[in-house]
Symmetry: C2
Subunit: 354 residues, 2 copies
Amino acid sequence: MRAVAIRTDENEPAVIEKPRPDPAEGEALVRTLRVGVDGTDREVIAGGHGGPPEGDDHLVLGHEAVGIVEDTNGTALAEGDVVVPTVRRPPNGTNAYFERGEADMAPEGEYVERGIAGDHGFAAEYFTSPEEFLVPIPEDQADLGFLIEPISITEKAVQHAFAARSAFTWEPESALVLGNGCLGLVTLAMCDHVYGFERTYCLGRRDRPDPTIDLIESLGATYVDSRETPVLAVPSVHEPMDFVYEATGYAPHAFQTIEALAPNGVGALLGVPSSWEFEVDGGALHEEFVLQNKALVGSVNSGVTHFEAASDSLASLPDGFLSDLVTGIYGLDEIEAAFASDDTTIKTALEFST
Amino acid sequence: MRAVAIRTDENEPAVIEKPRPDPAEGEALVRTLRVGVDGTDREVIAGGHGGPPEGDDHLVLGHEAVGIVEDTNGTALAEGDVVVPTVRRPPNGTNAYFERGEADMAPEGEYVERGIAGDHGFAAEYFTSPEEFLVPIPEDQADLGFLIEPISITEKAVQHAFAARSAFTWEPESALVLGNGCLGLVTLAMCDHVYGFERTYCLGRRDRPDPTIDLIESLGATYVDSRETPVLAVPSVHEPMDFVYEATGYAPHAFQTIEALAPNGVGALLGVPSSWEFEVDGGALHEEFVLQNKALVGSVNSGVTHFEAASDSLASLPDGFLSDLVTGIYGLDEIEAAFASDDTTIKTALEFST
């Protein structure tokens, strides 16, 4: 079968031939429909993150997949079920985090990530997976099911952030999303259509005309150009935010989030920057944090319950928004285009079968 | 009656004469037993925080009080009830935060603080308070009831911190308290005797012999000398911490807390530093925060439910610990000693009656 992989000595993905996998006991065989492409894939390709399974010279890419069960192999799944696989797997047998369905909370060393670090991904015509990591979704989500993994990332982050405000009466009205990539835009749409925020804002640094600004405004949200209104100015120019969702990976945003928050607000940090020293007014941030009861929650990955919630959320998002969000679906003869990124690209996916 | 106050043009507290207050409707008259002294009092005295009610030239000090109901004035309290007053009051009538019993979550402008900012405190022979802000406690806590306010500060911070970990299975074992003042030591004892941590640590910067180090070790906790083992070195020298409680007000600790935490850990920030710019490796902190699902919660003040929990916690703390913690009870002829602070002072209180 064909697979899309990055070889350790190359810096562009390629279509390679691999044997079609045989499902082991407890695993089903899935025929891949589509696999989404995101920033993590580009980091993996660039060699900045993750890598192949030990001893392998290539990593099959892809962690945002949707497929159809082709061989149930004795599992409780049914042939033809549309499924989305979760990303983390236990490295050796299992461990407590996986046993209680909280692989997303496993610390380093207790997981590998399919298509990212230590295990091959889903960007192949077929993949196998233990049944417990395959989340059935409605058939009508077969086309856009590759969005469920990124949406699940937000479900978890929001669940954790809101939990941090569960010890008191918290009635958030305003939300600011930092970042207008696919994850930021989807989260903005969820703030409007799933989480019920009354006023939503999305920060980017693009000139009009721009498809992401159009999408932001189509949701009724306010576009904040960070070149005119930096995060620190958002409270005075717009309003202090009950919720801030950081999806830029721009490290100063993690700290500026504290000042963008309203009293009793919470920030969810999702971006993964690298080491970068800079100056902060640590005293003022600390004081602000304490005297105004603020909270910050870091969040990575997601589990089965978040995938299930994500399927429900996907069903709540406007069709027009989703069709504008997905800017390209590419076959295996167009993988360069699938992985390319420019100002007209929001979300792309590879198509393996229909 | 006599009261201990700070005059706006002076920098030492003094005993002054004030008329004994008459309880208004809904208020009880309380005869004060003891009033604890803490770092906030010293900041107020030094002019660094808070101030008198508008138009007054002095502020009656004291926000950690215990007293006996002398005149129920038609409230549901009984004469002789031992009570502890909460600190915040609504500035004008009431507001939503007070109405739902969450004054501790009120933003600036929506509260005054008795003995701290905008309202006279409890360091007087008598005080009045609306019934709803008087928390009855067992009679045998009359002597140490002045510790209930500081304990309640920890109850709230821990409630919020643990709430931030409520979206997954969190079984914390290790706790690090930053700061060996009264609040730090009481929190350390609560980590051992109330919250059930298996291994506890307390960070200070004192040489032996020292009464706080003795207290730390009497609890079975480990003393961490920050001059030998800075916060950043705690994970390698001791272990990464599931819970960090910051009670130093030393701004770099707020950021170092992130690195001292174990994966999935939470830090509670309590200290109130002032503006202070310094360099942080913001990128590394941000990454650590996200990839290891960490959380930080700022917390200030506390409400009636936290005072109630604090009374229960006080009952759980070892008698020997409490008697060593309280290093002095002073009459009104010794107020200089009551407000003094040196390496032999841990917790002091003023005694108004017995």
